[in-house]
Amino acid sequence: MVDQTIQPELKNVPARPGTAQDIVRLSEVHFAWPGQRSFSLAIDHFSVSRGERLMLIGPSGGGKSTFLSLLSGILTPQRGTVEILGTDIARLSGAARDRFRSEHFGIIFQMFNLLPYGSVIDNVLLPLHFSRTRRDRARAGTTLEAEAARLLRKLGLEERLIRGLCAASLSVGQQQRVAAARALIGRPELIVADEPTSALDRGRQEGFLDLLFAEAETSGSTIIMVTHDETLGRHFSRVVHLSEVARSRREAA
């Protein structure tokens, strides 16, 4: 069963509900933080088609991060299915879920994305350590370091910064570009971003998204991004309010 109410919002990508085109499909998902009943999140149906650029809007504290954690298999729901590329990751073992995430997901946090002591290139190459598929893809016809440098260049990082030995010396905007390169390397099917632009000023936000989308298009990655800022909506193929797909409940403990 697919929630038909979401589908009309699709603009660019024609999708047949419940087909193999769905890269993400959540149904009947219920999650509560273990050991505490004060917060719970329920998602009846939610699906994303391949190639979509989905913007998920919700207020702070509305369960956005929990939603993304469920989507990427960092958290597992108590009930329901989380199908990614046809695999129900809620049924996978912890280790298999971690491997699945490393193979198919690129994740960008709001800030503090980088290991501050690592070099810029090493930060970009980090996911490849955990995923053979992405490593092989990144290595195709080039070296890993060259591929990392190419992505960083595409994302507009200056040449001298690409060779930087310490990621901590970068500005926030530069760090987010490195984080984007890390999410994109090895062409994962899904890029999941948690307010990646909230630390940037308006002009840079748009530039960052343009570059991210251009690269995602090249690598054929689907993008799911959460934010509380609706003004960026025009860059996306679909805008969904979290409240439309998920019911969060917060009770006084």
Binding site: A95, R101, S102, I107, L115
Partner: protein, 419 residues
């Protein structure tokens, strides 16, 4: 391995606290191994000092005391025993050789030992080595002295020098036998035993320098000149102890009993090995206490490391969340932290061992000279290796505590990077 490189860089990022942790562990390991080395060195020094001697005979006293003053020059004889008893014991059919020893005088802090030339023939140390002359010769004159290596080295004596023997055992003698100086006839090669710190003269010489002495002071008018004593009959009336070698080891206990039951005079005969065992029993408590203290120091150092890792854990939550987001399993994070603890401990153990050997190398001559403690610079023994391995293992296991904590947090944090 990018993950290993990043782990090392993470450690490098906290290099000061990491360095201090490694140093704390290094010092504790150095202490632990050092105590063990000194303990073994002391035991070896004692055990190597005398070998091949089956019995030590002296006036009736405790076996340990007899061993200490006759062989190690520690403490004083309770009493001497008569030359007559000595001569009778020497006639015992089971005895292969017997060497008399007379102690009681000193030269500038070094003890003077009166004996016969048999001493150089029968004394054995370090599993059968005999005394050797490094320069000069053993000397045959009444006033010839043969000095140990340390005596020559410390006092700068050479063959042919004149020395005066002081009465009594202080390092500064108020009464000296300055009317009868000795000539250094020979210097013995280094042995690593109390022999190095001994001035050897003949039994007759001991007798000669005391001619005309009564109750520890020279009696005016009765003293004889060096030339006069040469003409005298210098048979000693009493000696301090005698080293005995037997024809058959099987006779040891029989001869020992016979000497202990000697009627004319109360005597003691002791087995050097048995007396040493008594000594070990005595110092075992102190050794155990020392070992326990150094083990606790190691435990303290490991606790310090734990504190350091736990303190850093909070600021490293971001690191953990990033690693989880790129697909690191909780087990990877657990392994990283435990490996970090293991690495720090191993670095501490290696540094500490290195520091110990450096210290040994530097301090060995001093310890040997000052305390006669001969510490061998040998690679760690199997037991020491096991101890070191156990410390590394303990560090690794201690590291599991913050590792498990980080593991649980990384599960609970999810995607949220809490700082």
């Amino acid at each position: 391995m990018i993950i290993l490189r990043l782990a090392l860089q993470s450690l490098q990022n906290r290099w000061l606290s990491a360095l201090l942790t490694v140093l704390a562990i290094a010092f504790s390991v150095m202490l632990l191994l050092g105590v063990e080395k000194v303990r073994n060195g002391a035991r070896d020094s004692f055990a190597n000092t005398i070998s091949g001697t089956d019995l030590i005979v002296g006036a009736r006293s405790g076996s340990l005391q007899l061993l200490l003053y006759s062989v190690f020059r520690i403490g004083n004889a309770t009493n001497n025993f008569t030359w007559k008893s000595y001569s009778e014991i020497a006639k015992h059919p089971d005895i292969a050789w017997i060497v008399p020893i007379s102690l009681g005088d000193s030269h500038r802090g070094f003890r003077v030992l009166g004996t016969t030339s048999d001493y150089y023939r029968h004394y054995r140390f370090r599993g059968g080595n005999t005394l050797e002359v490094a320069s000069g010769e053993l000397g045959t004159d009444l006033f010839d002295a043969v000095i140990g290596w340390d005596v020559a080295a410390r006092l700068g004596y050479q063959v042919g020098d004149r020395i005066v023997i002081g009465h009594g055992l202080g390092s500064v003698s108020f009464v000296e036998h300055d009317d009868k100086p000795f000539r250094v006839a020979g210097i013995l090669a280094k042995t690593g035993t109390p022999v190095d710190r001994t001035v050897h003269v003949s039994l007759e010489a001991i007798e000669a320098i005391h001619v005309g002495w009564q109750s520890g002071a020279s009696v005016p008018g009765e003293s004889a000149t060096a030339e006069e004593v040469r003409a005298m009959y210098l048979q000693p009336k009493a000696i301090t102890a005698a080293l005995v070698g037997l024809k058959s080891k099987l006779a040891i206990f029989r001869v020992q009993r016979q000497i202990n039951e000697y009627r004319a005079e109360p005597l003691s005969a002791v087995l050097p090995g048995a007396a040493l065992q008594e000594l070990w029993g005595l110092v075992a408590i102190a050794e155990t206490a020392l070992a326990a203290v150094s083990a606790m120091v190691v435990a303290t150092a490991l606790l310090g490391m734990l504190t350091m890792i736990l303190t850093a854990l909070n600021e490293r939550r971001r690191e953990m969340a990033i690693l989880r987001s790129v697909g690191a399993r909780p087990a990877t994070i657990l392994g990283l932290l435990a490996a970090e603890a293991g690495f720090l401990t191993a670095a501490g153990v290696v540094t500490g061992t290195g520091m110990l050997y450096a210290a040994l190398f530097l301090l060995r001559p001093v310890l040997d000279r000052q305390y006669g403690l001969n510490l061998s610079i040998a690679p760690p023994t199997a037991a020491e290796g096991m101890t070191l391995a156990a410390i590394v293992l303990a560090g690794f296991i201690a590291g599991l505590v913050p590792a498990l904590l980080a593991y649980r947090r990384s599960l609970a944090d999810g995607m949220t990077v809490r700082i």
